[in-house]
């Protein structure tokens, strides 16, 4: 039944439709706006869940794929022999596989939770919800498109709403944070675009042999890129032409550009500073989306493009990535340990946890890759939960500084309990989802780089140290009389908290729920790592 409707397009574009509808609604009626935003967030979520349930790992995402040609531009034949026609095509390709499916679901869940958490937004609701829905379209699109041109468009589409959402509704230092965000990510996007252009121009063709030579068609199709780069693409007499072969240097350049572009988003160790400000200054519901989904676009991009298109290069560079990952883990953890501001602590914790994703990618085996994706999803949920509580606490106490808070378990036992659970999940307690991702990443990396893994595992210890320090300083200890009267979570806040905790527990206890669909998608990649041939 799901195959009959263009479900991927629906998931992607329904939020946009909601945004357009919302523009028409009167600004005054906050309630109606909230309900409309909720509806247009819920429908893609329901579709995503449905898709997840229907998805058959053995078949893959083929039944749901969509492909339309949007625009073709004929190019002059440039005098080459054996070419019947030459055209540049802009396609609209949507597809899903075991890698994008969990992240799509994550997007839906986190968006819904963030929407519920957005009750804290006190000004300009309409603009907020319009931008929020736009952001959703961008995020879904990033995960669901199979065309690099569209990927870039969606990637940028997440950037602009996020910029305004941070810059308008953030806390004190919001403008600076938004600027940082835009500049860094702009640089990342530019590098990504450059890499994509290189790839499309050299490896983005399909050749159809015919009378009078081949009909060449250039497009941004990911599958075409994948096939051509791995040497199993369409055979044309031109395929052997040096123009259509990425030289080693070019391959490396594209690979490094992609790694840096997505490394900034992830964020990878030396490129992390932008994200601290965003975590500290953005409004809580946006940080939920940011830490929960936007950072995961970096992980997704790394695996989708850097790893799948360039497995040979990744194999060469795995050591470097693993070292960067371990450095990120330890560096983030040590810095988190000395932070006085809980939001910054969480920001550094994200740096540390994204280092684990990098480890999983660098491990070059299915265990590690599963771990990386699992970690991405799990950290998405945990970070969303943590920032949800941080937002609620901030609304009540006006501060999230560790030294100013304390003993909140007395007045807000429920929220403290959730915070403690989230903290424990974040430090990788087994039984909660954080552990599975960490464990699998370490397990994967351990195969090839044992000593490095041991250093990475030290990060687990440090994460316990800083997480407990942060969480326990807030909830344990004697309570300051200042916070005597603060109120327990309202229903609309408690609902997403409980839902997220339930998900975190569920994934921790029964991880196959998430890893099941992933496995077959990684098989060709792991094969490629083993054989060392591109693809």
């Amino acid at each position: 039944m799901l195959e009959a409707i263009p479900v991927l397009s629906l998931i992607t574009w329904i939020p946009l439709a909601g945004a357009l509808l919302m523009i028409l609604l009167p600004t005054r009626n906050a309630r109606a706006l909230r309900w409309v935003a909720g509806l247009f967030t819920a429908v893609p979520l329901v579709l995503a869940i449905w898709l997840y349930a229907e998805y058959k790992p053995a078949i893959g995402g083929r039944p749901y794929e969509e492909a339309y040609t949007w625009l073709t531009v004929p190019l002059s034949r440039a005098g080459a022999e054996g070419i019947a026609s030459l055209e540049l095509a802009f396609d609209y390709l949507m597809g899903v596989d075991g890698l994008s499916l969990p992240l799509t679901l994550l997007t839906g869940i986190v968006s819904m939770m963030a929407l519920l958490a957005s009750v804290h937004i006190r000004k300009r609701w309409k603009t907020f919800y319009v931008l929020f829905l736009l952001l959703q379209t961008g995020m879904y699109g990033v995960f669901l498109t199979r065309d690099v041109v569209w990927f870039f468009i969606f990637f940028e589409l997440t950037l602009i709403p996020a910029f305004f959402l941070i810059g308008i509704w953030g806390l004190e230092g919001r403008e600076k944070a938004a600027n940082r965000f835009l500049v860094y990510n702009g640089v990342g996007s530019a590098l990504m675009l450059l890499a994509f252009l290189m790839l499309v121009a050299t490896a983005g063709f399909t050749a159809t042999p015919g009378a009078g030579g081949d009909a060449l068609r250039f497009s941004g199709s990911y599958d075409v890129l994948l096939a051509n780069l791995s040497g199993s693409g369409s055979q044309s007499m031109l395929a052997s032409d040096p123009i259509f072969q990425l030289s080693d240097g070019m391959r490396w350049a594209a690979f490094v550009l992609l790694v840096i572009a997505f490394g900034i988003k992830l964020p990878m160790f030396p490129f992390h500073t932008w994200m601290l400000r965003v975590h500290a200054e953005a409004p809580p519901s946006i940080v939920m989306v940011h830490a929960g989904v936007l950072l995961k676009m970096g992980a997704y991009g790394l695996i989708r493009f850097a790893a799948q298109l360039f497995p040979a290069e990744l194999r060469e560079a795995a050591d470097v990535l693993a070292v960067l990952g371990v450095v990120g883990i330890l560096y983030g953890a040590v810095l988190a340990f000395v932070q006085k501001e809980f939001r910054l602590l969480l920001a550094y914790s994200s740096v540390s946890h994204m280092g684990i994703v990098l480890l999983g990618v660098a491990s070059l085996n299915d265990v590690g890759l599963t771990g990386a994706v699992f970690q991405a999803v799990s950290h998405g949920l945990i970070a969303a939960l943590l920032f949800l509580i941080v937002g609620s606490l901030y609304e009540r106490t006006g501060t999230t500084r560790i030294d100013e808070l304390g003993g909140l378990a007395k007045s807000v036992p429920f929220m403290s309990g959730i915070l403690l659970t989230a903290g424990l999940a974040n430090l990788g307690l087994p039984g909660l989802s954080g552990f599975v991702g960490e464990f699998l990443s370490f397990l994967g990396l351990f195969e090839s780089m044992k000593v490095l893994t041991v250093f990475g595992v030290l990060g687990v210890l440090l994460s316990a140290a800083y997480m407990l320090r942060g969480v326990m300083s807030i909830t344990f200890g004697p309570q300051s009389p200042r916070y005597d009267g603060i109120k327990e979570a309202r229903f609309v806040e408690a609902l997403p908290m409980v839902a997220l905790v339930a998900l975190i527990v569920l994934l921790g206890v029964y991880p196959s729920l998430l890893t099941g669909p992933m496995q077959p998608s990684f098989d060709p990649l792991v094969e490629a790592f083993k054989s060392g041939v591109g693809g």
Partner: protein, 622 residues
């Protein structure tokens, strides 16, 4: 005999887990009902555990069952349960103590408004501990290993408003996590070295049992030592023992359940469970024995100088756990597990009795106590039985198990035997000190004069445990090796009467000396302390190990953090800012060039055109 009840073994942890879920969901509206839910759940577990044990006593087959937890292309991680004699023994120990503690807590925690939370945590702990015991593979064991750790953490910090409790909980979690890392790395190593990535104990037994042919000796030793590191953390062995005494900030029933009888013994259980790996590596065995022996004597000396009733017992626990490790290290699983078995009863008894005392006098400082024996008869009597059992006085349970360890040590290494004997002496000494200072003499404080016996719901578990402390030892005596045979299939060897005589002598000597010092006053303890002020201070400060750790690890980590923070701000972020500043400078320069005068712009345009044309088509001009 058929395995009837073993098939339901999964219910043993599931019952407390259900209680936990129930209490968490409806906790606030339940209160005493909640306590009953938890107690009944633990009773159910106890009954089932006993049924399973009974079935096994009748000689049932081992039972195991497992499911895929996570599957990859190359390997599968599974979860499952494994019912063997060893696990069913542990199950009985855990459920007995758990049930009794649950009953006891009903009296102890009666006035606490968060009683249901307490019971929820205890139920979760029981579920995790039983899961740990039943786990059929190392990964699942590790998962529950961490879960019991977190339950311990939650319960230590149960009185969250006390800063000491908060710090103790944090410390307990982090210090044990150091050990857990060892176990985690051991799991990683095993996963990649074991044929077929198998982590279940049966495969481990097969691989390492066949003289470890598949895995090199170095790796075997490494794995064994890493597993032992996990055990060291959990069982409070030197050098990771520091958390256990601090953990006494938790409610006393918790100290009895988690930090005396069950969780801390998990380290011993772990070593016993993976004993084949240790057997394959003589170096690892020697390390286990050495660390165990050292911890035993080291903690016993500290216990001598502590003034907090629970801390004395805590160091005693550390010491006794060292004893168990020593037993394992000298190659006798039976001795180690036997001591675990008996120790669980009498140490739980001691803690619960101490809790009864604390409940009555509202202090933990033994210098403020005294003369309680007349007012709290049951408590005093049961505590006395526990103390004698701990001191290894025949025919109480502690004597037999300690004797088994000493006998095994004598066989292996006389030095270890001597250390064990000295420890036995010290144990008797500090226990007599504790007993006399608390129960004998006159009340030091008027308020304590009105202390009265605890309610029956608290004393009844004491009596049951006291009875167990008396009789539990008879399952394994030099003349009757039934326990050892049941557990490992082979009778433990006993080295004759020498060990027995020495152990008894050491215990009696310790008691006598204690009587002389703290009861009769023949030896003036003030003068004794004045003779060795340095030693006393060192012992009181626990050899300054906490201070050392604080200096070396905590402070240096924080200092590293500050340095990195400066680097993060100045270098990493600074590089970015430098780029920004450069861009701004270029921009400013450009602004100056933008004079607003068209002619200037046009001139630039002309030059640009010229250059562009020359660049693009320059070659064609000539």
């Amino acid at each position: 005999m058929a395995t009837v009840f073993a098939a339901y073994a999964w219910l043993v942890p599931a019952l407390p887990l259900a209680a936990f879920a129930l209490l968490t969901a409806f906790g606030r509206s339940l209160r005493t009902t909640g306590a009953w839910v938890a107690i009944l759940a633990s009773l159910g577990s106890l009954a089932l555990a006993l049924l399973i044990a009974g079935e096994r006593l009748a000689g049932a087959e081992d039972y195991s069952q497992s499911f895929n937890w996570l599957a990859f292309g190359t390997a599968t991680l599974s979860v499952g349960i494994d019912v063997t004699n060893l696990t069913s023994l542990m199950m009985v120990v855990v459920t007995v103590v758990g049930f009794l503690v649950n009953v006891y807590s009903y009296g102890y925690m009666r006035d606490d408004e968060r009683m249901t939370v307490f019971y929820a945590y205890v139920s979760l702990f029981l579920a995790s501990m039983l899961g740990l015991v039943l786990a059929d593979n190392l990964l699942m064991l590790y998962i529950f290993w961490e879960l019991v750790g977190v339950c311990s953490f939650l319960l230590i910090g149960f009185w969250y408003h006390k800063p000491e409790a908060r710090d103790a909980a944090k410390k307990a979690f982090i210090v044990t996590r150091v050990g857990d890392l060892g176990l985690l790395i051991a799991v990683l190593l095993l996963f990649w070295y074991m044929p077929g990535h198998a982590l279940d104990f049966t495969s481990i037994g097969n691989v390492f049992g066949n003289d470890g042919g598949a895995i090199s000796a170095g790796i075997t030793t490494l794995i064994a030592l890493l597993i032992f590191l996990g055990a060291v953390g959990k069982s409070g062995q030197f050098p990771l023992h520091v958390w256990l005494p601090d953990a006494m900030e938790g409610p006393t029933p918790i100290s009895a359940l988690i930090h005396a009888a069950t969780m801390v013994a998990a380290g011993v259980f772990l070593v016993a469970r993976t004993f084949v790996i240790f057997e394959a590596s003589p170096a690892a065995m020697a390390t286990v024995a050495a660390i165990g022996a050292f911890t035993a004597i080291f903690a016993a000396t500290i216990a001598l100088a502590q003034n907090d009733i629970k801390r004395v017992l805590a160091y005693s626990t550390v010491s006794q756990l060292g004893y168990m490790m020593l037993g394992l290290g000298v190659g006798s699983v039976v001795a180690g597990m036997f001591h675990l078995f008996t120790h669980a009863f009498f140490k739980a008894l001691l803690f619960l009795a101490a809790g009864s005392v604390i409940h009555a006098v509202h202090t933990q400082d033994i210098r403020e106590m005294g003369g309680l024996g007349s007012r709290m008869k049951t408590t005093a009597w049961t505590f006395g039985i526990g103390a004698l059992a701990l001191a290894g006085i025949p025919p109480l349970a502690g004597f037999w198990s300690k004797d088994a360890i000493l006998a095994a040590a004598l066989e292996r290494n006389p030095l270890l035997f001597v250390v064990g004997a000295v420890t036995a002496f010290l144990t008797a000494l500090y226990m007599s000190r504790l007993f006399y200072m608390v129960f004998a003499g006159k009340p030091k404080d008027d308020s304590h004069a009105h202390a009265h016996e605890s309610p029956a719901v608290m004393t009844a578990p004491l009596v049951v445990l006291a009875a167990l402390s008396v009789i539990a030892g008879f399952v394994e005596t030099p003349w009757y090796g039934w326990f050892g045979e049941w557990l490992t299939g082979e009778a433990a060897h006993h080295a004759g009467y020498l060990a027995m005589i020495v152990a008894t002598a050491a215990g009696l000597l310790g008691l006598y000396l204690g009587w002389l010092i703290w009861q009769k006053g023949t030896i003036d303890r003030k003068a004794l302390a004045a003779r060795m002020p340095g030693l006393v201070r060192v012992l009181e400060r626990k050899y300054y190990i906490d201070e050392f750790y604080d200096l070396v690890f905590v402070r240096s980590l924080r200092r590293l953090g500050y340095v990195l923070r400066a680097i993060d701000g100045l270098v990493v972020d600074g590089a970015v800012r430098l780029v920004a500043v450069t861009a701004q400078a270029v921009g400013r320069l450009n602004t100056r060039m933008q004079s607003g005068q068209l002619q200037g712009y046009l001139l630039a345009a002309v030059f640009s055109v010229v250059i562009l044309v020359l660049a693009v088509a320059g070659r064609r001009l000539w």
